[in-house]
Subunit: 426 residues, 2 copies
């Protein structure tokens, strides 16, 4: 195997023809796999079955003096606030505990910014001429889709190996129309990058022109190591407060990939002033989120140590899947020099940069072979990857054997698309 770029046209043609035959074989197998989303596999869900029966009778449903079965406790039950404060390194008073899916809390915050404004807004964002948002990319498609849904102008900020390009961020926030930034600080989606201390410090010290700049700190993978022990992270609320930016940051996390993605508990951490303001709006929106499920989580997970121990059991299931992905790429693709990829230590994705101009083709080829990937471009604002290169691989759902098959096809598709491209370029 030699790098494709060094092959002669004839060598490429021969290679392409052989690969197309193998591809036809795969198509004939009638695969049906989905690697589009970071969806835990069944074995992971089975880990936490005991949570289903952790509350069995009325006496179990008391959280101190609070009967969690009844109305009340708009911002979450006390014990759940303590648990999540412990996990995130914040104070319980800085925690709002919600229902399933932290995406819902993020969306609702943005929605309230539009309808009512945030704590320091001069007017609701719906009354602003333009609202711009910084989108470190590649990034999480659902963040960008929230922004798109509200008609924001999205500004792509390239990711570096240490996090968002801070020179560009610092420059961009001088524009008062720039109202916030999406961040996944630990094991970023999709690259698995952990923001360096220097980057986090610069973020906390930002001086945005917009008084209501919202740092959307999606700590989705805060305890989601794939290999090795828990890697501690610093409390962004404290860092921002120390820089005089106490009300700039909203941190999000959830148990979606700790317990059940379909029945988890989400949290928003923010300054006391932000929480007070948010509660003054939330009181019209709901009476409480599901408090029985909040208590179920507290009783089952117990404390930070309980969460971290469980995460090691998730890691034991996930590690071989990530290894299968990386082994295939190393063996099949590395020598050809047609793609690069990340080797994340946590999170849910492997980010592959295919030969520029081939990502869409690769995803289409995969689909025709029965494997669904996240759409090419999804990791960029407006769904448009300028280089048509980035592909997000989500290895968590399929069993290892299926994943190995899927990766065989994937490598084949990367190669076919690269050869087609090189041929077209002559």
């Amino acid at each position: 195997m030699k790098p494709y770029a060094q092959m002669t046209a004839a060598e490429r043609e021969k290679e392409l023809s052989a690969l197309r035959e193998r591809y036809l074989d795969f198509q004939a197998r009638g695969l049906s796999l989905n690697m589009a989303r970071g969806k835990p596999g069944k074995a992971q869900l089975d880990l936490v079955s005991d949570m289903l029966t952790v509350l069995t009778d009325p006496a179990d449903c008391m959280d101190g003096g609070v009967d969690v079965r009844n109305y009340g406790e708009l911002t979450g039950i006390p014990s759940a606030k303590r648990l999540f404060a412990d996990l995130l390194g914040t104070a319980p008073e800085e925690i709002l505990v919600g229902g399933n899916a932290s995406l819902n809390l993020m969306y609702d915050l943005i929605a309230k910014a539009y309808t009512h404004g945030l704590l320091h807004s001069q007017r609701p964002w719906s009354q602003e001429e333009t609202v711009k948002f910084l989108c470190p990319s590649p990034g999480y498609d659902r963040h960008f889709k929230i922004s798109a849904s509200f008609g924001m102008e999205m500004i792509t900020i390239p990711m570096t190996a240490e996090g968002p390009d801070m020179d560009l961020v610092e420059e961009a926030v001088k524009d008062p129309a720039v109202k916030g930034m999406w961040c996944v600080p630990k094991y970023s989606n999709p690259e698995g990058i952990v923001y360096s201390d220097a980057v986090v410090d610069r973020i906390a010290a930002l001086r945005p022109a917009a008084p209501d700049f919202a740092l959307m700190w999606d700590n989705a993978y805060c305890v989601h190591e794939i290999y090795g022990e828990f890697v501690p992270f610093r409390d962004i609320l404290t860092l921002c407060r120390e820089q005089g930016n106490a009300d700039m940051v909203y941190e999000f996390a959830s148990t979606s990939k700790i317990t059940f993605p379909g029945a988890g508990v989400a949290v928003m951490a923010a300054s006391r002033e932000n929480q007070k303001y948010y509660e003054s709006l939330l009181t019209y929106q709901t009476i409480s989120y599901d408090k029985v499920n909040q208590l179920r989580h507290v009783r089952y997970l117990k404390d930070k140590a309980g969460v971290l121990a469980l995460m090691q059991r998730h890691a034991a299931i996930l590690a071989p899947k990530f290894t299968a992905v990386l082994d295939a790429l190393r063996a099949e693709i590395a020598p050809l020099q047609i793609a690069t990829w990340t080797e994340p230590k946590g999170g849910y994705f492997v980010s592959v940069n295919a030969m520029p101009g081939t990502a869409k083709r690769v995803v289409a080829l995969m689909k025709e072979a029965g494997v669904i990937l996240t759409g090419a471009g999804a990791t960029y604002p407006y769904g448009k990857d300028p280089a048509d290169s980035n592909i997000r691989i989500a290895p968590s759902l399929p069993p290892v054997e299926e994943l190995q098959q899927a990766m065989e096809v994937f490598c084949l598709c990367l190669r076919i698309a690269a050869l087609e491209k090189l041929s077209a370029e002559g």
Copy 2:
């Protein structure tokens, strides 16, 4: 006892002085009761304890082919859609199953009207000069607070014994700025009025000038009889569709007062076209509501018959409480002709009309005697009851013995406030 209005000034003074002494006695007892909200009592919560353990292992968590523990099924699990369609008389395709609290679904619909517009909106409501909403009153304070929170102009529509005054409603909807109406059609909050067929027919046949008029049909008490058997209701979606108004109505219901107020399941029923449009917005807001809890409800409640049987057990607990309230009013207040009240067959409230100009005073006196009632005026838009007369009694939470004490004080307060008023008027 003779009607206060027929008493001489001297008789009134003597009476007032005696009542004030009794009031002081009550104050000395140090009562601490809350009758502000329609909050189920502990005995009601204990009815459904078996729901806590209805799902115990992974195999239990399959809803047909759907593993409810994992991501997906944005609009609810199939079996839950069937259950609620059965209860409401709609098709499963017309059902969205949410998380805890139907208030959240109502708020979110209004919020989306403001940020994105509804299916037939010409523009988002945030871009309208004025948004007006019809508020049949007395009504549910939380409805009015949603409207207030979004800055709507609320138009009070008086309630008749059959529902909202439809002559006024039909006139009001000719204004294109009138974008909707709040309705609690069965056992209205707080009066317990069941809209008559004639009223419901006229509502379904409305011809609003606004193309995106939203009939907010909060069927909160659809199966919540206090005495006797289930009283069937007609499907508002069908009635509206038959009148060419298929997309005008959004119906809401929840299990908050069927299973757990703190861990229920809420639903929104609407036309297929509305659901399709709503789902196109919801896809940015969340990944799914809590599906394990949806399945828990399905497995526990089973079907409409299961729900109705459970509601009879709730009724057996609630009926003596309503009887205690009404007995006290009949014995202590009726002869004095200083107040009127409803005698609801279902729902969660007794609506008392105190002597005009005395409601605030009564609520204040109650508070000073240790009993919290819903704030006077809360049942009207802007929290302002023009007659200062309506008081909402929520008898569900206290045990009967405590309720009897509370009603003793309440009758005393009604009398004191009426005598004070009559004296002031000379």
